[in-house]
């Protein structure tokens, strides 16, 4: 029983890490109806910006964090100006293709920066001052191993989700963001300035990417592989729904728990290694049953 609990909790907590990345996708999707292929690259470049500032220039945490955030906001604003603005009212597939281009561009820039700052492309360690170690109290009392770092990640994700949910549902800007996602032209016609709105949303997505990048970087080192984390966010999004902030969290928890449990309990029957692909199978099955995800918006058609 304790073993089951330990696997479950470990899975849930690692799921939260996926949620963090998925959140960035949800933000952009909610505000422009576009799947932002460049989200993984943004996570990488955010983490790299922080590491460069903190280690190459020796800045303290808050200064490096603030500057890295400024870099992400700048990237967000430039993206709006150079990539998105010429594509207003164009088919969403064009916007999607543009984000693929953006992904390659950002990945290239990031590697150039890494070479310039550290002279090699090997993973850079990133320390946040919290050890990835089991909490002793839980270990002694219940004999369960839970990493304190995972708990921190979960807390951060929880706060982010709550803040974003309030932002989207209760504020004037949040409402405008959702309006833009539904209908660009109508949003323009009531005087919502698309430029400002997209600038804001890409900046917020940059912020989320920075948080995700810091936590993922602290876990597995800042390296190019961070861009692939985005692939793990995909099944999370399919499960939770592309437009739902709550869905990103719930989807992450389900994926995280399911892949760990599958690895432990089903893995032995097929020789292990389930963890790598189980999430995608789950997402595939889910698509058959509920293509809009658990909390996604249903497509409304008038007949």
């Amino acid at each position: 029983m304790t073993f089951f609990l330990e696997v479950l909790i470990g899975g849930l907590l690692s799921g939260v890490m996926y949620s963090l990345v998925a959140l960035g996708f949800v933000l952009i999707y909610k505000a422009s109806g576009v799947f932002n292929f460049a989200q993984g690259a943004m996570v990488f470049i955010a983490a790299l910006a922080y590491v460069t500032l903190a280690e190459r220039f020796g800045l303290p945490f808050w200064a490096a964090f603030a500057l890295a955030l400024a870099v992400m906001v700048l990237i967000g604003i430039l993206t709006e100006r150079i990539v998105l603005r010429p594509l207003v009212n164009q088919p969403q597939i064009s916007l999607f293709m543009a984000t693929i281009g953006l992904a390659f561009f950002l990945e290239g820039i990031a590697q150039m920066v890494q070479l310039w700052a550290f002279n090699d492309l090997s993973p850079r360690p990133l320390t946040l001052g919290i050890q990835d170690q089991p909490i002793e109290w839980l270990m002694n009392e219940f004999d369960i191993l839970v990493s304190s770092f995972d708990l921190l990640a979960a807390a951060v994700a929880g706060v982010l989700v709550a803040a974003l949910a309030v932002f989207f549902n209760r504020t004037r800007i949040g409402r405008a963001l959702r309006a833009v996602a539904d209908d660009h032209q109508a949003a323009l016609s009531v005087g919502i300035p698309l430029k400002t709105i997209w600038g804001i949303v890409w900046s917020v997505a940059g912020f989320v990417a920075l948080v995700a990048g810091l936590l993922w970087g602290a876990r597995s080192g800042v390296q190019f592989a961070l861009t692939l984390v985005a692939l793990k966010a995909l099944p999370v999004l399919i499960l939770g729904g592309f437009e739902s902030i709550a869905g990103a969290i719930v989807g992450g928890l389900i994926i995280g728990a399911a892949e760990k449990l599958a690895e432990v309990y089903l893995g032995p029957f097929v020789g292990g290694g389930i963890e790598g692909w189980f999430a995608y199978v789950l997402a595939l099955l889910f698509l058959l049953v509920r293509p809009e995800g658990l909390f996604g918006e249903r497509h409304i058609d008038r007949v």
Partner: protein
């Protein structure tokens, strides 16, 4: 002094397609002016040229000027225009489908920096004009009926506290009864809130009943204008736009008919 004055504007799409070939007209404060004409005459393009929504469709005003309260407004962003009290209700409603009716209305107040209570009281005012919206305020706009969506779209524009609304084809796809209901409300808004309307309509009969003045567009030109009453009693307008004529059904062998029609399309 006219509230809105359009002087000889020309609109070109994609740098080649000339859609408006010198359109001029005026809207006085407190008027309801109808832009009439068939499909492709240039009604929507005219409205979008005024509200500057052409950019995203690769259209461009290449000649002429647009003045609102004696001030050039061509080149201002829609955001600026809404702030100045000029707002468009687009053809085909264009509600935000996944937002509730009330959220749709609130997006209309985006440009206003007014306090929460001010916005609240405006919301109540909109509900007073459209009681049906109050009943449906919590439902997603995508699931409401066509008439309710048109009301939502007009109500949303009202939340910006406009002086002038550009209303594009409000009758589209609606039952005749609902069309009358919508036009009654437009009439009320015009009388009580002193909102001026520029109305693009294919439903000439209804439009002329509520409008004070009408302009008829054909192939990107104004071919006729006059007070609404005069237009609706004009023989040509009756025949070509209202489907009425003195002598009952027309035969296509009637050459005179063609000649008269040709004068319109030249």
């Amino acid at each position: 002094m006219a509230l809105l004055a359009i002087n000889n504007i020309e609109v070109i799409y994609d740098h080649v397609i000339l859609v408006l070939k010198g359109v001029s007209f005026e809207v006085e404060q407190g008027q309801i002016v109808a832009l009439l004409g068939a499909n492709g005459a240039g009604k929507t393009t005219t409205l979008k040229a005024i509200s500057n929504l052409l950019g995203s469709e690769r259209g461009e005003v290449t000649k002429g000027s647009i003045e609102y309260r004696s001030e050039r407004i061509d080149g201002l962003t829609p955001n600026d225009l809404v702030r100045r009290g000029l707002i468009q209700v687009m053809e085909g409603r264009h509600c935000f489908q996944h937002l509730t009716v009330e959220e749709n209305l609130l997006t209309g107040a985006f440009t206003r920096s007014g306090s929460r209570t001010q916005v609240r009281s405006d919301l109540e005012k909109v509900y007073a004009y459209f009681p049906r919206l109050k009943e449906r305020r919590r439902s997603q706009a995508g699931y409401t009926s066509g008439g309710e969506q048109q009301m939502t779209a007009i109500g949303r524009a009202l939340m910006a506290q406009p002086q002038m609304i550009l209303l594009d084809e409000p009758s589209m796809g609606l039952a005749p009864q609902v069309v009358d209901e919508i036009f009654e409300i437009v009439h009320d808004l015009n009388e009580k809130e002193r909102v001026s309307f520029l109305l693009a309509e294919q439903n000439t009969m209804v439009a002329l009943r509520y409008a004070t003045h009408g302009y008829i567009l054909e192939n990107g030109r104004v071919v006729m204008d006059g007070p609404a009453g005069e237009l609706s009693s004009n023989e040509d307008v009756k025949e070509f736009y209202l489907g009425l004529s003195g002598s009952g059904r027309k035969s296509f062998r009637d050459v005179k008919h063609y000649r008269r029609r040709k004068r319109w399309l030249a």
